[in-house]
Symmetry: C2
């Protein structure tokens, strides 16, 4: 399912005169990371594997690489995110080998319910197939829009769990291609438009609108649970792409202005277990928006996003998803192995 | 149980002209950390609390403090360890308020079994009571030795889970004052002398020799389980005082010289869960020696210390504890609030 371009990686490392490299991998590519480490070692480059679980390009191990005396970092599984890196970093996104057209053909009658003008979005795994999908849909008579997205994503049409900028185009409805619930629910919430998710592995099509409604009801329940809270822990993450210190400080200030107590907590992997023992009535997570949502069952205290807190404090009426907005993207990333250098190089 | 010298801390922070500080705390002092943060904020110093679980001075959050724009770090609960810090750091050890003499008096008949010349050791919690205990025992007719220890510890007579240098003095037996099993077992293993552990909270006295034997049998079982292993993951930690990169590379080299496959893994909080999915037959943990021992039940693969690996490879016959040795200690640390500056200041 995953193509590893080990020779291309080796060449890039040799250009950089790399003696020692750190390899970072998501859960699903651990064997590939081991294979790559072995291959590079056979070719004279000392290779260390990061054992820390990695969830995204928002968490590059460039600081660790530098500390370990590595000349470079290899980040497997995700495309580049604009971050100030400390060592040259090679991003190798994982592209799925699955026929997206087959799943689209199977669900034409559902897709037609979206309207004539549809916005097409996906995750990085299927990004290479997006133009093929566009052509197929155009042949079926649709007007297909692929949003450019902002600087937090790498490619037109790409959405992240924290960024749906590419979905925000003039369209009657949104077609999401990919697996999982979190991304398409985010699309539905961020665009407030009819959203159909097509899973290219299973061939299933799911309308996200009902899911999004159910989901919002759950979030309102969290907000209600926090109504009597007096002491808030406001949490941000030391992961480079999740460190929203300015936003966290704004939230602390906001809480204090509303007569609440608030303290700023900073941690790497945000989880309730590590917070047990602190004396807070509720938490606001200002980091990855998935954390207070995906993991909510494990929290014994109410846990909100900054926008949900604004509802709690009466500063906002409508539910809004906590997106992390990027700057303007100057140009798209190359599709495959992609070397990024620190600014100083 | 814990005295917090918040005014002294405030003064030191003001001397440093601190605008923003990060506070790091072990599990048991979370409320104190919150209290301190609140006190400092009332006095005009923005205070962030680290939510990452902290186990020792080997894991200072100085890098994180720097990244967060903090002028200083407060490390609660542990005494200073010689490390190259990146921001001025205030160490505030936790001293227990418990009567150690009462527990000693109660167990005189057991203590006498140690012999006439005894070495006295403890953890930082009871270090302030060590001289009182020495005097008491001398009045009871003992010749009491308190080892100076090396540069990894801060005080004479102090032992850590990874360093028993203060126990290595001429003596018939060792008297350990403190709670828990890990430290006194380490003392027994590192000194190979009769070791009596007196818990000042419960008043219990436990001979560690049988415990140590049972413990060694368990470790031999781990070694045996790894006999057929071909592929080894050699793990070190990015925690500043646990990063034993030289030793880890030595272990990788050793394994390769013995015809095994070996790869170097680096991670922050070492735990088996994060390693699941890698294709290794066994692991060697070259970081905190407690990790492969305390947590062994959670590992589905054999996990060894570097010295246990040497036994496996036939390079060592006797069991030896994996200590982390320090350099020479120039002078003892002050007993209370203790400011350490980066070398560059």
């Amino acid at each position: 399912m995953y193509e590893l371009h080990e020779r291309e990686v080796l060449e890039k490392l040799r250009e950089l005169d790399t003696k020692r490299v750190l390899i970072q991998t998501p859960e699903g590519l651990k064997r590939e990371a081991q294979f790559l480490a072995e291959f590079l070692e056979e070719n004279g480059i000392e290779s260390l594997i990061s054992g820390d679980i990695n969830y995204g390009a928002c968490d590059p191990a460039d600081r660790e690489a530098k500390m370990l005396g590595c000349d470079a970092l290899i980040h497997l599984g995700h495309s580049y995110m604009v971050l100030n890196l400390e060592v040259p970093t090679i991003f190798i996104p994982a592209f799925a080998k699955v026929d997206v057209i087959k799943a689209l053909s199977k669900n034409m009658s559902e897709i037609r319910k979206l309207g004539k003008r549809i916005a097409l979005v996906t995750t990085v795994q299927h990004i290479k197939d997006l133009n093929k999908a566009k052509e197929f849909l155009e042949n079926e008579g649709f007007e297909v829009r692929i949003g450019r997205g902002d600087g937090r994503v790498s490619f037109p049409g790409q959405v992240l769990g924290c960024n749906f900028s590419a979905a925000k185009v003039e369209a009657d409805g949104i077609l999401f291609i990919g697996a999982g619930y979190f991304h398409p629910i985010g699309v539905a919430l961020a665009t407030k438009k009819p959203t159909l998710a097509i899973n290219p592995y299973s061939g299933d099509a799911i309308w996200m609108d009902k899911e999004a409604e159910r989901w919002i009801r759950k979030r309102w329940a969290q907000i209600a649970k926090a109504y009597d809270a007096e002491k808030f822990g406001v949490i941000t993450s030391t992961k480079k792409g999740q460190l929203r210190l300015g936003e966290a400080r704004r939230v602390v200030k906001l809480l204090k202005e509303h007569g609440k107590k608030a303290q700023l907590i900073v941690m790497n992997h945000i989880n309730y277990q590590a917070l047990e023992g602190f004396d807070f009535d509720a938490y606001v997570v200002v980091a990855c928006p998935r954390v207070p949502i995906d993991d909510v069952e494990n929290w014994r205290k109410p846990v909100l996003t900054p926008r949900e807190l604004e509802i709690l404090l009466g500063l906002r009426e409508d539910y809004e998803f906590d997106e992390i907005i990027g700057g303007k993207r100057e140009r798209d990333e190359p599709m495959g192995v992609n070397l990024k250098l620190p600014k100083s190089l």
